[in-house]
Structures are given as C-alpha cells and as structure tokens.
C-alpha cells in the first residue's frame, strides 16, 4: 500500500468512528467535539485530493466557527443526558423512516455513481485554479453570494448598534 492509501484508510476509519460517536455519545458536548474530529478527518481527505484550500476553509468555517456556536448553545443550556426529554413513539417512527430513506438515497447515489475524480483535474482545489474558475465561469453566482455575506455582516453591525434613545432610556431607568 502506498502512503496515500494508508492515509485514506486511517482518515476514513477516523471519520466513520467519530461520526458514530457523535450519535452514540450521551453527553451533547462530547457529540459536538466528535463532530469536530469528523471535520478534521474530512479536511484530511481534501488534502489527499490535493484540495488544500478547501481543506483549510472547511476547518476554519466548520470546525473553527460553526462548531464553536454549537458549543456555546449546548454549554449555556447545560444539557445533560438525564435531562433529555423522552420522545414520543410517533417521533421515533418518523425518525427511523426519514433516516432510512436518506440511507437508501445515499446507497442509490453511490451505486450509480460513475467514479468522478474531480481533484485530479489539474489541482482544481488549489487556490489559484479555484480562483480562476470562480472568477471566470461562475462570476455571477459568486458575486451574488459575496453580496449576501456582506449584507449579513452589515446586518450584524446594524443590529449591534443601539439606537440613541434606547441607550438614554436605559440610563434613565437605572
């Protein structure tokens, strides 16, 4: 086995085991931490596919930002295994059906998948090629989504800005 293959098997095992632990952990904080391990393993797969940029962005965005927010919520709500509300029977059946259909869909998708190896097309995951592709072939969707992000950022600043009269009434109340 070549080093790449060994790494592939190690990363895949890590990803699957960690993903299972996400589900089976009793403690929600442990679940989130195992989910972070899953993201790391997936980032490793991106590196193996020569997509370093995607790997690092996956780490920054998912492991570094979104999971921190998950942790915030779970830690502040102080959820524990013994406090978990018991779900009704219908909820459980609905969960099994939707999960089963998703599995079926994934298996079908895998079965009819003609092996596309996108990563090897002249290193599309490297930042130069990715940038060229984004700015040549996908300019409009890229620009629209960037405007969306910018508006979200401006929105955060606007929401954070207190209006003057509210500040004054706060002081008056104290």
């Amino acid at each position: 086995m070549s080093i790449t293959e060994i790494l592939f098997w190690v990363l895949s095992t890590a990803a699957i085991v960690a993903a299972l632990l996400v589900i089976f952990s009793k403690n929600p904080v442990h679940s989130v931490l195992w989910l972070i391990v899953v993201f790391f393993a997936i980032s490793g797969h991106y590196v193996l596919l020569n997509a370093q940029f995607l790997a690092i962005v996956n780490m920054i965005v998912y492991a570094g930002a979104i999971m921190v927010l998950f942790l915030f919520v779970i830690m502040l709500m102080n959820m524990n295994a013994d406090q978990e509300p018991t779900k009704s029977k219908w909820m459980k059946i609905a969960g099994v059906i939707s999960g089963g259909s998703l599995t079926l869909l994934l298996i079908a998708a895998l079965k009819y998948n003609t092996a596309t190896t996108g990563g090897e097309e002249a290193g599309i995951g490297l930042i130069q090629q990715l940038g060229k592709t984004l700015f040549n072939e996908y300019v409009v969707p890229f620009e629209i989504s960037s405007v969306l992000f910018l508006s979200a950022m401006v929105g955060a600043v606007v929401l954070g800005k207190k209006e003057k009269n509210i500040v004054n009434s706060d002081i008056a109340n104290q």
């Binding site: 904080v29 442990h30 370093q52 780490m59 920054i60 492991a63 921190v68 942790l71 954070g160 800005k161």
Partner: protein
C-alpha cells in the same frame, strides 16, 4: 534514502523550533515581570540566580511540584484535554513560519521552514480559530460558573476579532498575490534599501494597525484580557486548574505571543530580511549559512520588539469593558478594514491600468 534524510531534517527542525519557542516563551515571562518591575519603579524578581535569571526555572519547578487537583464534579477527560489543546494550538502555527532562508550542510540545502504550504496564512487562521477550543473546553469542563463565563467571553472575543483580522489581511494579500509566507517574505526582500522599502508596513499601515489590535485580542492580552478579568471573574477560565495544567494554560499565552509576534514580523516587517543589507551580495561573500544566521537574528530582533510591545501595553493601558471590546471589534475595526480593503483594491487597479 533521500526521504529518510528529508524526514530527519524536518524532525530536527521541528524539535529545534519547538524547544526554541518554549525557551523564548519561558524568558518572556521573566521579561514581563522585570519590565513590570521597571515600570512600577521596583526591582522585579532578582533572587534566583544573578539578576533573577533562573526565575522561570523556579516558577516551572513550583508548578510541577504542586498538587494536582481534578475537581470531583468536573468532566474529567475534557478537563485534561483542555490545557493540552491550548498548548497544541499555540505551537501548531510555527510550522508555516519561515525562520530563515536556507542553510547548506554537507552539500544539502535545508530550508528553515517546516512546511512551505501555498495556503500558509489560511493555515495560521485555521489554527487560530481552533485556539478557541482550549479555552472553551477548559472553562466548561471545570463545572464552575465563573470559568464558563470566562470561556464564553474568551471564545466570543476570539471569533469577533478573527473577522477584522481576516479583512485586514485580505488587503495585504491583494498586494502580495500569494498566501505562502515564504513568498511574502521574498517579495518584501526585493524592495529598495536592502529590502527596507519593500516592507509591507510602509504600504499597509492601517492594515498593520488593525492586525496588531486583533492579535492582542486573539492572545487575550491586556487591554483585551477580559477572559481573565480577575476583579469580575475571580481568575478566568483556568480557575479550577492547578499544578502544571494551570502552567500549560498560562504558558500557552506566552507561546501565542511569541508566535503572533513572528507572524506580524513576517507579514509586515520583512520576516528574516536584514534591513539596509543586500542579502544576495552578502551570500556571495559570507556564504549562505552566515546570512541565514544573521537573517534569523534580524527576525528575532523584530519578534523581541513585538514581545516588548505586548508587555509594554499590558503595564500601561487598563482593561476594556466588555461592551467596549465588542464595540471596537464590530463597529470600528471591521468598517475600517473594509474601507482599507476598498482603497487598496482601487489603488492596485489604478496602478495596473
């Protein structure tokens, strides 16, 4: 057998860099106490060894020999992982920093950088964003309200300032056109006056200022040391920790300071570039090894200056209030960084036409 030598070189380099960072961090704690003493008109530590030079060793020994207490109600596994993660993320960044040009030993050219990845800066960002977990896990697993509050403070502070940090760097990246730290240093070395006119600080002063402020916030240093605000939170997210676990938390702050100083020097101050000296001409007369040594010394001088700045600021500027911190990060730095980005883009576009 080429691969074996290559691996050995890298292992040696990693070992050297890590031990060097640890020793520098150790003596930064000493420098901090000495400079604090100087600024407050007292002597500072002067008992252990001549001028107190062995003080960091004594501190370390004290921490090692203290009783290690794991609180009964804490989450034990996470309680142990917390400080380990804090230290790990502090050290990880050093992998992509070019510590010098290259040295030649027995006909082999050895680059003084562990990994010259083409996404160097993004790697730094990735590691910085993971630095949150050391604080959050430690704070939460202690099962203490004050620790949790401090952890939430620290994490939200780091996330908020990452945004402004990234935006200030994008304007720098527009100029360099590369994410590799080595390439950025080499571009700066090509400026006039032996590289001095190429330093990015001359072209991106506002970007540098924003970046520096964000670095202070990311390292949880005064004036942004709210996670450790002892008059509000007793001690901070490491309140329940004792012995070397506490030591690792406190120490990781100094390692973070060292590595951040190295990143700032690399990005804005020419890295291992010796100002007013033409390195290529010098290599012809002195050989690559000596140039690498002097380059490293120049780099270290820059790092030492920033370490001093960290300490200087700590003992002169009082702590921000939490709403002031968020105010500065979200309402002042981000708009400023966006404006800087826009101006940089316009200037680059105008110059290219």
């Amino acid at each position: 057998m080429i691969d074996l030598w290559f691996g050995l070189e890298k292992l040696l380099l990693i070992g050297a860099i890590i031990s060097f960072s640890l020793v520098v961090a150790m003596y930064t704690t000493f420098a901090e106490r000495k400079i604090a003493g100087f600024m407050q008109d007292r002597r500072g530590p002067n008992r252990a060894g001549p001028f107190g030079i062995l003080q960091p060793l004594a501190d370390g020994l004290k921490l090692f020999f203290k009783e290690e207490i794991i609180p009964l109600t804490s989450n034990k596994s996470l309680f142990v992982i917390g400080p380990a993660l804090a230290m790990l993320t502090a050290m990880l960044t050093s992998a992509v920093i070019p510590w010098g040009d290259h040295i030649e030993i027995a006909g082999r050219t050895i680059s003084l950088q562990v990994a010259d990845v083409n996404i160097g800066i993004l790697y730094v960002f990735g590691v910085v964003s993971l630095g949150v977990y050391g604080i959050m896990i430690g704070g939460w697993s202690s099962n203490n309200k004050f620790s949790l509050l401090a952890a939430v403070r620290g994490a939200s502070q780091i996330i908020s300032y990452e945004l402004a940090m990234g935006l200030s760097l994008i304007s720098l990246l527009l100029m360099t056109g590369s994410l590799s730290l080595k390439t950025i240093v080499e571009q700066q070395m090509q400026g006039g006056w032996g590289g001095f006119l190429g330093w990015n600080i001359l072209y991106q002063p506002i970007g540098f200022l924003i970046f520096l402020i964000c670095v202070f916030a990311e390292c949880n240093r005064t004036p942004f040391d709210l996670p450790e605000a002892e008059n509000e939170l007793n001690f901070g997210y490491h309140q329940e920790y004792s012995s070397m676990k506490l030591g690792l938390y406190l120490f990781s702050e100094y390692v973070n300071m060292f590595i951040s100083s190295a990143v700032v020097s690399t990005l804005f101050f020419g890295g291992y570039d010796i100002p007013f000296v033409d390195e290529i001409a010098l290599t012809a007369t002195m050989g690559a090894n000596m140039v690498a040594l002097f380059g490293f010394l120049a780099f270290f001088a820059k790092i030492a200056f920033f370490l001093f700045l960290f300490i200087w600021v700590r003992w002169t500027i009082p702590r921000f209030r939490y709403d002031q911190l968020m105010d500065l990060g979200w309402k002042k730095l981000i708009p400023l960084a966006l404006a800087n980005l826009l101006i940089t883009a316009i200037v680059i576009l105008a110059l290219n036409k």
